[in-house]
């Protein structure tokens, strides 16, 4: 299955102009989204008078740079994403809701993610009602409901060769420490294979921001990413 991210990226780059052509469909059902949001509401408030709780309030989240509240204490992972210039546009919100850790390693958000694209589309439709510029949000179904990185089941199911992964990993260990120490570069040991694979493909497709990682992941094949996931996943 071919990844459609190229299309997403083009849309993101062209912003409003491209969005306009894609507003024929709704991104989801806001009423159903309000129900789905009940899970989120344990930590996040949205709407009139919303305040920070365990998580920050979500008013005006669309198209805001991540981690903008000075009165909220963010995780190191989210702050890294902010410094890298990440913006809560539709694709990043959708990716984050799919699996927070895949988009932002080290996030504090204790949430496994919404695997059903319809749930995400509906929650996003609900949330967009509390953002100031909803006209900038595309309502085309393929965009709204798209996973951040769409990988074929074959790629996701690929079982990596840890021996090959160990060799490939020697490129990673110039910066990432195998013993799990954090000195400014994220820890990559002990990840679930699927999270690792999704994150690497997100770099490869230049959805996750970071020039070094985009370059490193950019030349890894599907098998090589699987091999690295197998190797690092087995390390504590």
């Amino acid at each position: 299955m071919r990844f459609l991210g190229g299309t997403i990226l083009t849309w993101a780059a062209l912003a409003g102009a491209a969005w306009a052509d894609e507003t024929a469909l709704r991104i989801g059902d806001p009423e159903r989204g309000a129900e789905v949001f009940q899970v989120c509401a344990e930590c996040h408030q949205v709407g009139k008078g919303a305040e920070h709780g365990t998580g920050p309030h979500l008013n005006g989240i669309f198209d805001r740079k991540v981690a903008q509240f000075e009165d909220f204490e963010y995780s190191a992972g989210i702050i890294r994403a902010r410094r890298a210039g990440m913006v809560w546009d539709l694709e990043h919100l959708d990716a984050y809701l799919t699996n927070p850790k895949t988009l932002v390693s080290g996030t504090n958000m204790e949430f496994a993610g919404l695997s059903d694209p319809k749930d995400r589309g509906d929650v996003l439709a609900y949330l967009r009602q509390f953002s100031a510029n909803p006209q900038n949000i595309p309502e085309a179904a393929p965009t709204a409901l798209k996973q951040e990185v769409e990988l074929s089941p074959e790629v996701l199911a690929m079982v990596g060769d840890p021996e090959y992964g160990e060799y490939l990993a020697t490129e990673c260990t110039t910066c990432h420490q195998l013993d799990g120490d954090y000195d400014g570069i994220p820890v990559i040991t002990g990840w679930l294979a699927e999270d690792f694979v999704l994150a690497m493909h997100a770099y490869k497709q230049k959805i996750r921001p970071h020039p070094v990682m985009q370059m490193m992941a950019g030349r890894l094949s599907d098998e090589e990413i699987a091999a690295l996931a197998a190797y690092f996943g087995a390390l504590e």
Binding site: R83, Y167, T174, C175, Q177, D183, I185, M215, R219
Partner: protein
């Protein structure tokens, strides 16, 4: 595919060697000698010892007991690091990985007998030899200067006492004095290094001697990360730094260490500190081994094997390999490829196609970090760049700070990759 064939050939040889070695050599294990304990040599020694699980005897020859990394030594000059924080010992390589660490100078190589002789008199036999000696300076590159003058005009391009000396000289400059740098021609160790150094010297002077001036005589038209450095110098150290490129005689320089003068294209200048970074060549042991062509040791990009001796591998700054810059990151990257190739040749272990990468971070001012990097692959001709990136001018402060923090993480990563 050439790579696969190479892997197979290596494996075949290795099997033969493994069967025959005990008979022919009368010794149980193949022996690897590594000369030079920096980013290339320490990494190679560690990986071969670790991955062969004791099947290969690894000896590392390195004169110094305390190794000071060149990378981050500029940050010591700028006051961002303690000198002790860039010092490393070889204790773990010996105790945890079983590397035989010999603190001595290699002074001779007999390629026919496959032995290395040390200044202390010992002779080390090898099956494979890895040379990672770093750089030496080209004689007469800067008229008036040679290493006997290095205390008057330090190069500080091998870290440690030279770095300490240079910093001490900067700290005792008279008010409003002049710091001069004679920059090297290409190719040389750490392409952004001289310019990061200028940034760090400026940072230090701005605090302790703000009317001091910095003068760079540079034989090169262009230099690494030039737009980023020039933007940063303007921003942080406006009016302090003057660079004379070749158009202004920056390539026509003589120095007089006794008089503390520098002559640029006929114009004599009295200076207070003069940092002479001469033209460079492969560490001398490469010449002694007879594996250089011109100033550098040519290698096969698939394996880092010397093009002139199949039993010798060369790493890092000393090599002529193609597109990779001479950097600690490059040497570390090359070391892993060579370690794999050497293990494959000696024990028949699997050999995968070579992959290389490099990133160089530089600090321009407080929390103002930039980076440049590339990925490489081996062709039959050379190691070729396949993709690259560089920080952009005008980046916001948060991203620059993140880049700096990332460089600190990288330092921790690479030094644990080298020394365990």
């Amino acid at each position: 595919m050439r790579l696969n064939r190479r892997g197979f050939i290596g494996a075949g040889i290795a099997t033969a060697a493994a069967l025959q070695a005990p008979v022919v050599l009368g010794a149980g294990k193949p022996r690897v000698v590594v000369i030079g304990g920096g980013a290339g040599g320490a990494t190679a020694a560690r990986y071969i010892a670790k991955d062969s699980d004791g099947a290969i005897d690894v000896t590392l020859v390195e004169p110094t007991r305390s190794y000071y990394t060149c990378f981050f030594s500029n940050l010591y000059i700028g006051g961002f690091r303690e000198l002790s924080s860039i010092a490393h010992s070889y204790g773990k390589l010996a105790s945890e990985y079983g590397v035989n660490v010999v603190h001595d100078w290699a002074i001779g190589i007999d390629r026919d007998a496959r032995t290395v002789s040390l200044a202390g008199g010992a002779v080390l036999p090898y099956d494979r030899l890895i040379l990672s000696p770093g750089i030496d300076f080209v004689d007469g590159a800067v008229p008036g200067w040679d290493v006997s003058q290095q205390n008057k005009m330090p190069h500080a391009y091998k870290a440690g006492s030279q770095t300490e000396l240079l910093k001490a000289q900067i700290e005792s400059m008279p008010e409003g004095g002049v710091f001069a740098m004679v920059a090297p021609p290409n190719p040389f160790r750490c392409p952004p290094g001289p310019y990061e150094r200028v940034s760090m010297v400026a940072h230090l002077l701005k605090q302790i001697n703000p009317t001091a001036k910095i003068l760079i005589a540079d034989p090169k038209e262009k230099f690494s990360k030039q737009a980023l450095f020039e933007e940063g110098w303007q921003k942080h150290y406006s009016g302090m730094i003057d660079r004379l490129g070749p158009d202004f005689g920056g390539g026509n320089v003589t120095v007089n260490p006794d008089a503390m003068t520098i002559n640029i294209d006929g114009a004599e200048e009295k200076v207070d500190v003069c940092n002479v970074i001469p033209a460079q060549k492969a560490g001398r042991i490469c010449e002694i081994a007879g594996i250089t062509e011109g100033n550098w040791a040519p290698v096969d990009g698939h394996s880092m094997q010397s093009r002139l001796d199949e039993n010798i591998y060369v790493l890092g700054d000393a090599t002529d390999q193609g597109d990779m810059p001479k950097s600690g990151f490059s040497a570390n990257s090359q070391a892993k490829v060579a370690a794999m190739a050497v293990r494959g040749a000696l024990t028949g272990s699997k050999v995968f196609p070579a992959k290389y990468s490099n990133t160089c971070w530089s600090l321009i001012g407080t929390d103002d970090g930039v980076k440049v990097g590339a990925a490489y692959e081996a062709t039959d001709e050379k190691i070729a760049s396949v993709s690259s990136f560089v920080s952009q001018t005008g980046e916001d402060a948060a991203l620059r700070m993140q880049t700096y923090e990332e460089s600190i993480g990288w330092y921790a990563g690479i030094t644990s990759d080298m020394f365990g």
